[in-house]
């Protein structure tokens, strides 16, 4: 776990830590757009070695991912505690009738930077996945509020009184599969439609195109659904 102190030591003179991370993030995006992970060396906050990508045009809104996530992490079914959220408008027009909100394992994680105790950290032993140590969490909810996306990807566990977030299934006491970047993710495994996938490549950080991708193939077309 990197401490706030080590973050400060990594900052360049005259450039704030946030700016440093912002620009290195952009460089990473520029290079990774071509499928190359530019982080041959450690960044101030190591880039996660795993990301969830979704296809919001493929999703059927069954919320199986949410049910699976809650089940393997909490041992019970609770949509409010699911670390991936599927939001839908029954009267909406495809494709904007469904919004999939997965944690982006941001290169520049606002949630991590907001955490005053380091409970939310990039786990160096497990692929720099942005993860909450619930024992250290003081329940300030700063991480929950800090997420710049809507709905916020930080989950407030109002039952346990601590924050939690997608950990790529590193800690899943109710599932016997190994998780993390080298393992399996419950939402990916459970999704009946193949609308969620896992990648080690850093997605484009600007906008949604890096995280909301096209996972539809010829089989999808054979069923009569659009490919574009």
């Amino acid at each position: 776990m990197t401490s706030k102190r080590s973050h400060k030591n990594c900052a360049l003179t005259k450039i704030s830590r946030r700016t440093f991370l912002k620009y290195t993030g952009i460089i990473a995006v520029g290079v990774s757009w071509h499928g190359i992970d530019c982080f041959g060396q450690q960044s101030a906050i190591g880039a996660s070695k795993g990301y969830l990508l979704i296809d919001s045009k493929k999703c059927q809104g069954c919320q199986t991912c949410m049910l699976a996530c809650s089940l393997v992490h909490e041992g019970e079914e609770n949509l409010s505690l699911a670390r991936i959220q599927v939001v839908q408008n029954p009267f909406g027009k495809y494709p904007s009738d469904i919004l999939l909100a997965q944690c982006r394992q941001c290169i520049d994680p606002s949630c991590l930077l907001a955490c005053p105790t380091g409970a939310l950290h990039a786990d160096a032993q497990r692929g720099y996945v942005r993860i909450v140590d619930s024992e250290k969490c003081i329940g300030c909810r700063a991480c929950v509020l800090a997420c710049p996306y809507k709905p916020g990807r930080g989950i407030w566990n109002f039952i346990g009184g601590y924050a939690q977030k997608c950990d790529l299934c590193i800690n899943t006491p109710y599932w016997d599969e190994a998780g993390g970047p080298s393992g399996k993710q419950a939402c990916v495994e459970a999704c009946p439609i193949g609308a969620i996938t896992f990648t080690c490549s850093i997605p484009r950080q600007n906008g949604d195109a890096g995280y909301d991708v096209n996972l539809r193939d010829l089989s999808w077309k054979m069923l009569g659904y659009p490919l574009d």
Partner: protein, 728 residues
């Protein structure tokens, strides 16, 4: 029991009081239908009341599996009460609705809601976790179902457009959800107490059968809204996840392997766990659309579209007007062909031509949407609209005709006609407004009931209710419907038709032989397992004790596993699965496996069926008190006098089921068959004997009820003078 929230909400609208019933008091009935029937028995003292009576109890019950990862069992609720649609008696009946209402009810901490009484003004029920309020609905009364829901969403969470967290404990971050409230509501049809009014949830989830929309209207109940942030407890979470992935790996259709399948015909049909992942919509699908599923389902049976039209409508919603749209908007040559076929009474073939060669407009989508918004039962329209049109073509109905009717039949197939028709039904507008209470009652009011049930132009074969799969062909469907209270709408054995017939149409062999499919089905049907004659649909066998066993098994299985545990009918039973090398589905193993993982209770498949038998007997006890007698259990005349012709193909041989001819199994075309009234009556005796009901009356016997631990029910029947006489 794990999986149960622990409490049922009972609301008395007359005195505006909410009471909590502990689910544990009814745990033996498990969930869904079992809970509903037991609650009805206990809380409704006079079971002979009319459905509009304020003391009618409407129950909306989940199951322990609702809100969990159990595939195809997570979303539904069972709706029960005395209906107002059937005739001559409004039976204690059932309906069922999917989407996400049931899951949200569980997350709010409730196993179900029961409503009794009558409010003195329009109200809606606002459930937010364990906080329940009865709110004025005068501003909602008159709104369609979609607008009602949008309005309620704004009132509960401040917006009708989802996208962010809603904090219950605002201004702080505490209990929160991203989900919209789940609302079940009536539309104008229910408000005007139309006997064919439905309950609607989201865009297209419907509790259609029974006329519960009208019952709610009589109670001044506009809507029930629920939003929750709680949990469903699971006995063995690991086992549940394993079960989900096991079912996915071994029984679902794998998208990646679609291209490898040489002949996809067997899995192109819509039903079954292993069905191809296409929605169950019968209209031409627009380019821009996605499949859409109820909570937890692996294979969505409906769609959402780029225009928003037709969202979440499926099956009959999408069929009842689409073929008219197709036919009337096709080119002149096709129109002429269709007309000539209709003129020679080949209506089924005409319909098929329209379906294949017609040109569809958005009339079909807009009509389905309007039907959902007004809250009208699609099933009633499916067979009622052709009846209306037949009367028009006969010169009997129309402007200035014997039956005055101001509908613009020259615009039949266009949206304008449908709009006027649906408005007439929902608002009882203009002439021939009798159709607001259904086409059976309209025919009776017009003095045409006997004639039209005799000719078969009014295809309402059981209890004044519309047809679905024909009793002359799909035997267990018809028998189950007439021995019960309504169109069973259970496709388990209907799969026998869908598995074989499309292959035969294309000149191919069905995936398995008739003998093999009979064997596959029979293996699952404990305690009658391995009696393949249960699946013999030949005329020589359909009045036999074997067919009685089939129907009895079906009643018991569905009463428990599908209507109480709430495995969805579209995906279960998984008896025949085309994705398996041996074609054997997971029914018999899957249902207990999911049930055990969630509840911790080690209930065998057969034990579950036995609970189903208990529930079925309780239902028959209620019907018996309502006035049922074997002498009133018979089909409409046309079932006995008119040869079967499938609605989509006319007299062409297209409806195949397995059976034996000269001792050999084959797929037999059902066209041309009628039922023999005398033989059917004899069959009833087989059925009553099997069920332990009096063969003289059809009433349950005391010995049967006591063996099922229902002595109080036997006592009540005896008190009412309606206990079945024991066989000496």
């Amino acid at each position: 029991m794990y999986g149960h929230a622990g409490k049922i909400l009972l609301i008395d609208l007359t005195i505006r009081r909410c009471t909590i019933i502990q689910t544990s008091a009814y745990e033996g009935w498990v969930g869904g239908h079992g809970l509903g029937s037991a609650l009805f028995w206990d809380l409704v003292k006079d079971k002979t009341i009319d459905g509009f009576d304020p003391t009618n109890l409407i129950t909306i019950m989940t199951s322990p599996l609702t809100g969990t990862l159990a595939t195809g069992a997570s979303a539904r609720v069972e709706v029960q009460g005395i209906g107002v649609q059937s005739s001559p008696i409004g039976w204690f009946t059932r309906s069922n609705v999917g989407g996400r209402f049931g899951t949200m009810l569980k997350y709010a901490g409730w196993d179900g809601v029961a409503v009794i009484g009558q409010a003195d003004m329009p109200i809606w029920i606002d459930i937010r976790n364990d906080a329940v309020s009865i709110r004025t609905a005068t501003h909602l009364w008159g709104l369609d179902t979609w607008e009602t829901q949008r309005q309620i969403w704004k009132e509960v969470i401040g917006t009708s457009v989802p996208g962010d967290w809603f904090d219950f404990d605002s201004p702080g971050i505490g209990r929160r959800t991203t989900q919209l409230p789940a609302v079940l509501t009536i539309g104008p049809a229910g408000e005007n107490k139309c006997r064919v009014a439905s309950l609607i949830h989201d865009a297209g989830n419907s509790s259609g059968q029974g006329g519960f929309g009208a019952v709610w209207g009589a109670k001044n109940l506009k809507a029930i809204s629920v939003i929750g942030t709680g949990s469903v407890t699971i006995a063995d979470p690991k086992a549940l996840m394993e079960a989900r992935l096991w079912a996915k790996k071994n029984y679902e259709t794998h998208l990646g392997k679609l291209r490898d399948i040489k002949d996809p015909t067997p899995i192109k049909f819509h039903f079954g766990f292993g069905a191809q992942r296409v929605p169950m919509v019968m209209w031409r699908r627009p380019k821009e659309h996605r499949p859409q599923a109820c909570t937890g389902c692996h294979s969505g049976c409906r769609t959402r579209t780029g225009t928003g039209q037709g969202n979440e409508s499926s099956c009959i919603d999408t069929e009842f007007y689409s073929h008219f749209d197709l036919s009337s908007n096709s080119g002149p040559a096709i129109k002429a062909l269709i007309k000539s076929l209709e003129n020679i009474n080949q209506k089924g073939t005409a319909k098929a031509v329209g379906l294949v060669l017609g040109r569809q407009t958005d009339a079909a989508y807009r009509t389905a949407d309007l039907m959902q918004k007004l809250g009208i039962n699609a099933g009633e329209l499916w067979y009622g609209l052709p009846y209306l049109r037949d009367l028009y073509k006969m010169g009997v109905l129309g402007p200035g005709k014997e039956i005055e009717c101001d509908l613009p039949f020259d615009e039949f197939g266009q949206y304008e006609f449908a709009e006027k028709l649906l408005h007439k039904m929902a608002y009882r507008e203009g002439s021939a407004a009798e159709i607001a209470d259904g086409f059976y009652r309209a025919a009776r009011d017009w003095g045409r009931l006997e004639e039209d049930l005799g000719s078969g132009i009014l295809r309402f074969p059981w209890w004044g209710l519309p047809d679905h799969y024909d009793a002359r062909a799909q035997i267990e469907w018809g028998y189950g419907s007439i021995m019960g209270d309504r169109d069973i709408n259970e496709h388990d054995f209907n799969m026998l038709f869908w598995m074989a017939s499309p292959a035969i149409w294309r000149g191919r062999k069905p995936l398995v032989s008739a003998e093999e499919v009979a064997r596959i089905y029979a293996e699952k049907m404990e305690p009658y397992q391995n009696d393949s004659l249960l699946l013999d649909y030949s005329t020589e066998n359909i009045y036999s004790e074997h067919m009685a066993k089939l129907v009895a098994w079906h009643r018991h299985y569905t009463r428990f596993w599908k209507q109480s545990v709430l495995f969805c009918d579209i995906r279960y039973a998984d008896i025949f699965n085309p994705n398996r090398p041996d074609h054997r589905g997971m029914t018999g193993e899957a249902e207990p496996r999911f049930f055990r993982a969630v509840t911790g209770r080690d209930l065998s498949f057969a034990d579950g069926n036995e609970i189903g038998r208990r529930i079925w007997n309780l239902d028959n006890a209620i019907w018996t008190i309502q006035g049922r007698h074997r002498d009133m259990v018979y089909f409409a005349d046309y079932i006995y006098t008119q040869p079967f012709a499938w609605q989509f193909s006319g007299s062409l041989s297209m409806y195949y089921l397995p059976g034996r001819k000269n001792g050999r199994w084959k797929y037999i075309p059902m066209e041309g068959r009628t039922l023999d009234k005398v033989k059917f009556d004899e069959w009833k005796t087989h059925f009553y004997e099997l069920e332990g009901w009096s063969t003289a009356t059809g009433w349950p016997m005391r010995s049967t009820l006591e063996q099922l631990d229902m002595k109080p029910v036997a006592d009540a029947l005896e008190y009412n003078g309606r206990i079945g006489r024991e066989i000496a």
